[in-house]
Symmetry: C2
């Protein structure tokens, strides 16, 4: 399945886990997903890190699902007491938690004919859940409406995302970067003018410390190649030539 390359799509990412909020573990999943989605043309609108809490997960999932085309969750899908993502999503959408036959069959295959209660807990999903068989991973991917439910372990999340990502591909986001040897305060006024004159280009300005060659990176982004080109030329005309270190 391949996405529609003329469409524009939005996404939200929900990272579930007390270990991230308490600073015991540094989250890398949101960066992986954000850059991966961007490369597919999807605009990530929000990332939330929330605790292993049924109500918090339910509220967040429902809120995201209503606002964004796709929602990606990470974490809270294992066998222990603090894995409450499925319960949270079920609560947030007011549906029951049910044991999914395909998941149960898979766990029985893996853990033997009499899996314990903790194993069977992992087969319980919100009613209406779809199972996306990815072939070569030990667990299938689980989705509920527009929510894709990923494990928190980075290796598993990456593996699953790579297998499914093409379905999210949409109209590409084009990017141009200007590396400048100038202070932000020197170019800010120029930038303000250009931003006003180029409505379908998104501009970003980022100071860089401790680089001997440049001190700011200005980014221009658009889904239109023409607009990006025009805005880039406009920008170049208005800043001192000697400030431009490189353009990529």
């Amino acid at each position: 399945m391949r996405g529609d390359q003329s469409a524009t799509r939005t996404a939200g990412i929900i990272i579930i886990g007390n270990e991230i909020l308490s600073g015991k573990v540094q989250d890398s999943n949101s960066f992986f997903l954000a850059s991966g989605l961007r490369a597919l043309g999807v605009s990530v609108m929000r990332i939330s890190v929330i605790p292993d809490d049924v109500d918090a997960i339910g509220r967040e999932a429902a809120w995201f699902a209503e606002r964004f085309d796709y929602v990606f969750t990470s974490g809270g899908v294992g066998p222990t007491h603090d894995d409450v993502t499925m319960e949270g999503i079920a609560k947030g959408f007011g549906v029951r938690l049910t044991r999914h036959p395909a998941l149960e069959a898979r766990f029985r295959l893996r853990y033997g004919d009499s899996p314990n209660a903790a194993v069977l807990k992992m087969a319980e999903v919100p009613e209406g859940t779809e199972i996306i068989d990815l072939g070569n991973t030990r667990f299938p991917l689980v989705s509920f409406r527009n929510i894709f439910i990923f494990p928190g372990i980075p290796r598993y999340l990456r593996e699953k995302f790579s297998l499914i990502k093409e379905r999210f591909r949409c109209s590409p986001l084009l990017l141009k970067k200007f590396f400048l040897n100038a202070e932000e305060t020197e170019i800010a006024e120029t930038l303000n003018t250009i931003v006003r004159d180029n409505a379908d280009v998104a501009f970003g300005s980022y100071p860089v410390l401790e680089n001997p060659e440049y001190r700011i990176v200005v980014t221009l982004e658009s889904r239109s190649e023409d607009s990006l080109q025009r805005a880039g030329e406009d920008f170049l005309r208005r800043i001192p030539t000697e400030a431009v270190v490189k353009i990529v």
Copy 2:
């Protein structure tokens, strides 16, 4: 100023910046703040990453400020068009944006007597903003009610946080970690029982891949040393001795 070490405090972190959502830059500020706050005893309840958007910033800041003792924002305080944190917070609380005399004086000192509009923009803050002079940093820290407004550049954020952090110190959170050579599915049921019996201890269970010695880390946290001790002993009694690799 030093915090009250018998109190418990909560915090929320708001990371502002399109560059994080688009995966161009990996955020490290939320991890720095989360672990730093945790070390001071503060419980971080939520982290949001939101775009450089006045309304989004306003809504998020007001929502966080109402729910948590402290709010930390990062990003959006520079001189360019995409730096709209101050405007966002002003809008969220329905106050005016005003030029702060102490900030203006500082910028005139730094940029000369006729600073341009972009420089003066950085002196505009929500009405009621407090300036916390940190002495040895180029910019003071700005706070509005219970919101502490940090720059997005990690070096500046860290510098400022280190200078101010003691005021947030509260009742310490104690942590015990059990490194186990077992599968999560084997200990999940035991863990569920212990969790029920030890209400004032928070338990976490985290699978570890590719470590030759252990496969799970179980964490126990509490503000009570006695409770932590009791729960730790309870846990040890119920798991196979040979599974315990180390306890820290």
